[in-house]
């Protein structure tokens, strides 16, 4: 329902009532049917075949944080979409990457972006990074009913903390449980393999360029072992979405910049298919 369909054309009283700066609170009071998780599902037998997004990885470096995702959505054994985008800016200083039920996840990101923007417009200041991470937590918890029926959404949230002057990463579980990750994190079906790669390659003193290569390597390894994660598609020029957040704000790498990193990684892998080797001791 939309504002001026009311008979008088006036702003409804709820719009003019002083109260919360949260758009979600307003929505749940005024138009609860628009909330993504707020639908009763009929009982279903077994898994529903719907598109799922897969692997998201993040890593921090001294000047910020990088967040990247592959481009594949799968529906059972079928590739539902090979160029889906799963990493989005949440606002100027944060980004969110999503794994899980693609349709719900994209809707949830849209609402999350609006939640942050709405707060900023009403209050005149941005939420703290912790505040943003908590709001995302609440949204995922709101989706718990759907998650129990197999429609889970599990995001990874990364941002630049303006107060503490550092990049931070938060991971979530389906119940909205939130935990801060130090250094690196991964979520989605290929996350097991991506995390292995991140663990061996991550260092505290990475430069921004090295951090970008690191996440591309991790996604490459995830795609290597997980059929639901898409590797870089050089023929179709479909590369992972790679984003960086520093004190200058959110930035998404252009196709040309991505292609450069991906090709460098790919060329090395032609010689060493398993990727760079870590020292044994």
């Amino acid at each position: 329902m939309e504002a001026n369909t009311r008979s008088t054309g006036r702003l409804p009283a709820a719009f003019l009532t002083p109260g919360s700066s949260s758009f979600m609170d307003f929505l749940s009071a005024h138009s609860p049917q628009l909330l993504p998780g707020n639908r009763a599902l009929p009982p279903v037998q077994g898994a529903i075949e719907i598109p799922h997004g897969t692997t998201i990885v993040a890593a921090s470096f001294p000047g910020g944080v990088v967040l990247a995702g592959d481009r594949r959505a799968t529906m059972g054994n079928v590739i539902a979409q090979r160029d889906i985008e799963k990493v989005f800016p949440a606002d100027e200083y944060s980004a969110v990457g999503i794994a899980g039920t693609a349709g719900l996840a994209v809707e949830m990101v849209k609402l999350f972006q609006l939640e942050l923007e709405h707060f900023e417009k009403v209050e005149g200041v941005q939420l703290s990074l912790e505040g943003k991470a908590n709001r995302l937590s609440t949204m995922i918890r709101g989706n718990l009913g759907m998650a129990m029926q197999g429609l889970a959404v599990v995001p990874l949230f990364a941002g630049w903390d303006v107060d503490r002057q550092k990049g931070r990463i938060f991971s979530y579980d389906v119940t909205g449980g939130r935990s801060e990750e130090h250094g690196f994190a991964a979520t989605g079906s290929g996350s097991v393999f991506a995390r292995g790669a991140l663990k061996k390659l991550f260092r505290e003193d990475l430069t921004e360029g090295q951090a970008l290569t690191l996440v591309v390597q991790a996604l490459y390894d995830a795609a290597d072992d997980d059929s639901a994660t898409g590797g870089p598609d050089l023929a179709r020029r479909i590369y992972p979405i790679v984003t960086v957040i520093t004190d200058e704000g959110f930035r998404k790498l252009t196709e040309a910049q991505c292609s450069e990193i991906v090709r460098a990684v790919h060329d090395r892998r032609l010689e060493e298919p398993d990727g760079p080797r870590a020292a044994l001791l």
Binding site: E2, L16, F23, L27, L111, G249
Partner: protein
Amino acid sequence: MSTPFYVSPQQAMADRAEYARKGIARGRSVVVLQYTDGVVFVAENPSRALHKVSEIYDRIAFAAVGKYNEFENLRIGGVRYADLRGYTYDRDDVTARGLANVYAQTLGGIFSSAAEKPYEVELIVAEVGAGPEDDQIYRLPHDGSIVDEHGSVAIGGNADQISNYLDQRHRDGMTLSEALKLAVESLTRDNNGGERTLTAEQLEVAVLDRTRPQQRKFKRLLGRQLSRLLEEGTPAAGAEPGTEPETAPEEGGEASDES
């Protein structure tokens, strides 16, 4: 037991209008001008916390004079309206025209309802388009009418006088600095023809800048960036000795405040 006196409807509405107008006239003015890259809002407002000019949506901004709690309520209502509409449909479907209509209905309803006190506010809703000819500026007086404005508009205490001044001097294709200086000149003229000086600290300035790469075109101009724009070209024109010359040496480290 007192018997209520008969008051003619004309008289009742005239009284309400008079009441609202008096409330509005007490406040300082806000001026809104088109310039080549967008729309600039200039308000005389020493407060950094209570804004008279704010962002509503990607291309839409709001300016108001009058009673703070009343226009703040309307502002938040407008933000909720815009965000809900953009969420329900698409970001492109949120327009200044739609918002101005809702505001007009709201103000009109309040003005003519005997149960409510009329709002002592006057609003401007402006939207920046792809080019100067697509810019829209709507002025909404206290009684719920809408005036479609072009070029320049003033609301608040001295609105008529300031509007006249602006009408005579505003032209299409002004740069931001020119438009800003004209706006400040118009605000510094007071009722009896005298002039005051206004420094950057006493001004609240914001733009809807169509050249901004971000989706959200609203930006506040603060601190050094604002003083620099007010300084720009003044020595050459030699017109305004009133603006502060001592801010000039700060121009060196300017690059950082562009975001």
